[in-house]
Symmetry: C2
Subunit: 365 residues, 2 copies
Amino acid sequence: MSFCDLALDCVTQLQPYVPGKPIEELERELGVTNIVKLASNENPLGPSDKVLAAITEASKDLTRYPDGNGFTLKSALADKYQLNVDQITLGNGSNDVLELIARTFVSPNNEVLFSQYAFAIYPLVTQAIGAKAVIAPARDYGHDLQAMSTLITDKTKLIFIANPNNPTGTYLVADELEAFIAQVPQQTLVVLDEAYVEYGDLDVNTIDWLEKYSNLIITRTFSKAYGLAGLRVGYALSHLEVADLLNRIRQPFNVNALALASAAVALKDDAYIAQTKQLNKQGMAQLIAGFDRLALSYIPSKGNFITVDVQRNAEEVFSGLLHQGVIVRPVGNYGLPQHIRVSIGLEEENQRFLDALTTILGKIS
Amino acid sequence: MSFCDLALDCVTQLQPYVPGKPIEELERELGVTNIVKLASNENPLGPSDKVLAAITEASKDLTRYPDGNGFTLKSALADKYQLNVDQITLGNGSNDVLELIARTFVSPNNEVLFSQYAFAIYPLVTQAIGAKAVIAPARDYGHDLQAMSTLITDKTKLIFIANPNNPTGTYLVADELEAFIAQVPQQTLVVLDEAYVEYGDLDVNTIDWLEKYSNLIITRTFSKAYGLAGLRVGYALSHLEVADLLNRIRQPFNVNALALASAAVALKDDAYIAQTKQLNKQGMAQLIAGFDRLALSYIPSKGNFITVDVQRNAEEVFSGLLHQGVIVRPVGNYGLPQHIRVSIGLEEENQRFLDALTTILGKIS
């Protein structure tokens, strides 16, 4: 007997999400040092002193369980967004929240709708339940909301929309997005995944929509602009009743004590966010100028990354860059076999990448 | 329309796990200070300097995602237990691992078997799937393995055994336990939850059983003797194929970067474990002597806690203790309405509890 026979079919069919290579692992594998990692859309600024101080303080109590209700962090979020604290569901990264939403509402005979080229976790959480993933064709690498509308059926329980989208960086303007949400049937939940919202400079506060659309769930994260990827904190903002359901299935201590303490401090650090956005803007311009010099086309991005068409097998380019100590992300698994996604780093990191890319492209025709 | 109508039935029927009250929350509620918390079986020693140093070091990189494969920690575990690294599944606390096991193997038409008075997470993970919980009556507050055997059916997919058990502290001797495991049908998985194993001084290395019984999964945690409850690290040791399945459904970054770094250091800190066990032994003797003086009977425990029969409504005793700034755990939710569970603390904390208990029992008849 095989244990695969004992497991649920939906689990045996899962291909696990492949994270970007950690720097230590690559150093081990290739015997290289001084590596530049531009693979996981991380904040290149490093942690703020305020966060480090919060960790030191909270560490004193780390033999104690975290606050399972996340009182301090949830209060800070409620305050910032002018919401009821009970509209918030904390997650171990927004990944956790996305999974909780699916596990709360989706059964194997439901459909989950999302776009081609959308974030890889959407098909994974759908498959883990054994529900049907319905994938709307993209328009210019981004969400085609009209195409998505036509694919909504009686069975559609959940729609995932990433804005800005990862890995393409595409974004939807507020009017178009709101018009879409407004026509989604009440029994279908819309998850608006705003992991990159801080970079987007969008023209509307989408959180105001929660009052109008009770089937809307907004997810956000501390892993990107807030610079806490290593700590895993994400959250959902929703109707009270939705949050109550999500919190029933949530593991009581899903966000750890140092993560809770850090996020509460990071949330109030407007200077860090401003510096992050400024650095990102400059780095984006630097990379675009480099791609223009190399005559490479790219997908215009509102994220902290940009996806570029390298006009040849992207795995080879990825591998060539690796051997020069630069880690980026090939996106063949997204159906983009000639593109690589590169995160915006510090100026010198971006330059290392552009120099290495120039060398590699000269070698691979 | 209610969102409850949209959610899965198994979710709407869930009563969330109620964690012990965090100290800050109690201070807020009651306006008391100098609180002694003996409610969550936490290590009263506080974090070791080695762990604090590991956190400071790892914090430098916290804008980076954790290593999704947990290479360093898994290597350290494999080394310690002489296992293949691919037999290990890391979890965000062992709670996470227990849930992953259920979600990988249990479908709504399966049965999950565990004992009366066993850990509250077992019914929760069973309900979250909508499977049938089969509860074997206890013997002397502990697992009655004979009764459990008779309840195994074709539908039994999973058996949870906690040894030592929480909240009763009862334990099974190795021979009896192994004989039980040996006769469980191959298509039924046995989860041996050893969260408290370090306190138990058991007479056998259960990890050796993994070679003999491929349907055995052992779970352990860093939250108890290792003193990392705030960081959430647990793990499962199993057959390779079982671990492969669990890792498919595991969220790639379920254990955060500071947790991974701390656990790898804590695992090697034998002196901390020795000190922890010594303190626990002394504290256990101190509490037992106190209960004897008060003529209260208790359940003999191999954990870092002891459950005592207060001979009256335990909620009232709990509440009385709370107002004296001592937090313990009433276990009415486990079907023990006259018992409270108290964690072993520092000598002065244990004394505060005994003094407060003496006062309270004098007031409540």
